[in-house]
């Protein structure tokens, strides 16, 4: 009963946030500043770590997968493997895990601290709408960051793939790009973009919702972050499963 009510509450909050994205009042100078700061914290500050992870992960995955493909004589499936698995499945999954670990936890704690310190009351006193000023810019930033970082991850992994395929199969640059382009499917790319935006929406919206559930007690902050992060993890799994169903069934 409690879980159902919590789920309904989260969905209602998600609907409110989604509608606010299309509200003109959301787009003012103050909200733009929040958006820019959040995008910087989420997408730019993480880049050194993110690029390193993408390079290491890309080398590892490409090295193993290409070797298996070569041993099984399935070289025709190289493009399909890269576009169908690495770009559309692996890239968003690794990206969302990194963003959830870093930014979702930070957003959850930030909102909970603001609630405990009564700073949300301050915004309400000055008639600053929390949805317009505090929530929507963070959520939009999360959505754009997911799309941006997934693209970066895919580019790094495909670049590493170029080197690895050259070493293992002796593939040239032109042949490599031809293979990728032939394997690219517009439907997969559309599903990928929608999946990234959905990931970004929920990994920022859920921590905000749980941050708001903090009470005036300091001890409610870790509880709020813990519950928020568990729910974010569940949301990631659900979105991943749903997107796979859409793609493959």
């Amino acid at each position: 009963m409690r879980t159902t009510s919590s789920l309904l509450g989260t969905l209602a909050f998600a609907a409110g946030v989604f509608l606010s994205i299309f509200d003109r009042r959301t787009y003012n100078s103050a909200s733009r500043t929040v958006f820019i700061h959040q995008f910087y914290f989420t997408s730019v500050q993480i880049l050194p770590l993110f690029l390193s992870v993408a390079a290491v992960f890309g080398s590892l995955i490409n090295g193993m997968a290409f070797q298996v493909i070569k041993n099984l004589g399935l070289t025709d499936y190289l493009g399909r493997l890269l576009m169908g698995f690495v770009v559309t499945e692996l890239a968003p999954f690794v990206t969302v895990l990194l963003l959830a670990l870093r930014s979702s936890a930070a957003i959850n704690a930030e909102i909970a601290v603001m609630k405990v310190n009564r700073e949300l009351d301050t915004l309400e006193h000055f008639r600053i709408d929390l949805l317009h000023y505090l929530f929507v810019p963070r959520i939009l930033s999360g959505m754009l960051s997911m799309i941006f970082l997934t693209s970066v991850f895919a580019l790094v992994v495909l670049s590493v793939g170029l080197i690895v395929s050259g070493l293992i199969f002796g593939t040239g640059v032109d042949a490599y790009f031809d293979t990728l382009l032939n394997a690219a499917d517009i439907f997969d790319i559309i599903v990928l973009l929608i999946k990234c935006a959905t990931f970004g929406f929920f990994i920022t919206m859920i921590p905000i919702g749980f941050g708001l559930r903090a009470t005036r007690e300091l001890t409610s902050i870790p509880v709020s972050v813990l519950n928020g992060m568990v729910t974010v993890f569940l949301a990631i799994i659900i979105i991943e499963v749903l997107s796979s169903i859409i793609r493959f069934i």
Binding site: N28, S29, A30, S31, R32, T33, E110, V113, M114, N117, R118, E119, D121, T122, L123, H125, F126, R127, I128, H132, Y133
Partner: protein, 143 residues
């Protein structure tokens, strides 16, 4: 006081520990936020406006500081300026000695008010009757 706040909710600026500064924003953003949000004033313009207001208090050096690093007097002045940046501001000081436990004399409030009186339509101080003396007030506005 609650009834007063409700009646004037469109342009009342409360100075009170119940309406604290936002701790992850610097001082200038705390003040600029109101006009940025309600009037869509660009960031650079609103920053210049805030620096001008802080200069009147000789406090431009705190523009980039955050709430935990302010002295009690600085915090009060920032909250006072923030309340005054509302259009036709009705500034409402709610038991200000809670923010200023060192209890400066009434002259402190008068001087602070004079520095930004061009922004303020009215000032109301809500405090206990026993605290009347430090404000050097002659009218009957008390609660």
């Amino acid at each position: 006081m609650q009834a007063f706040l409700t009646d004037h909710r469109l342009n009342v600026g409360l100075v009170s520990p119940e309406v604290p500064l936002i701790s992850n924003l610097p001082v200038w953003s705390n003040i600029a936020l109101i006009r940025q949000y309600h009037e869509n004033l660009p960031g650079e313009k609103s920053r210049a406006l805030v620096i001008d207001l802080l200069e009147r208090f000789g406090m431009t050096s705190i523009a980039e500081k955050r709430n935990p690093f302010l002295t009690e007097e600085e915090r009060f002045c920032v909250m006072f300026i923030r309340a005054a940046t509302i259009r036709d501001a009705i500034v409402c000081l709610d038991r200000p000695f809670r923010l200023l436990p060192a209890r400066p004399g009434g002259r402190f409030f008068t001087e602070a008010l004079q520095k930004i009186d061009d922004l303020i339509a009215e000032v109301h101080i809500f405090d206990y009757s026993r605290e009347k003396e430090p404000y050097e007030t002659n009218d009957g506005a008390e609660n």
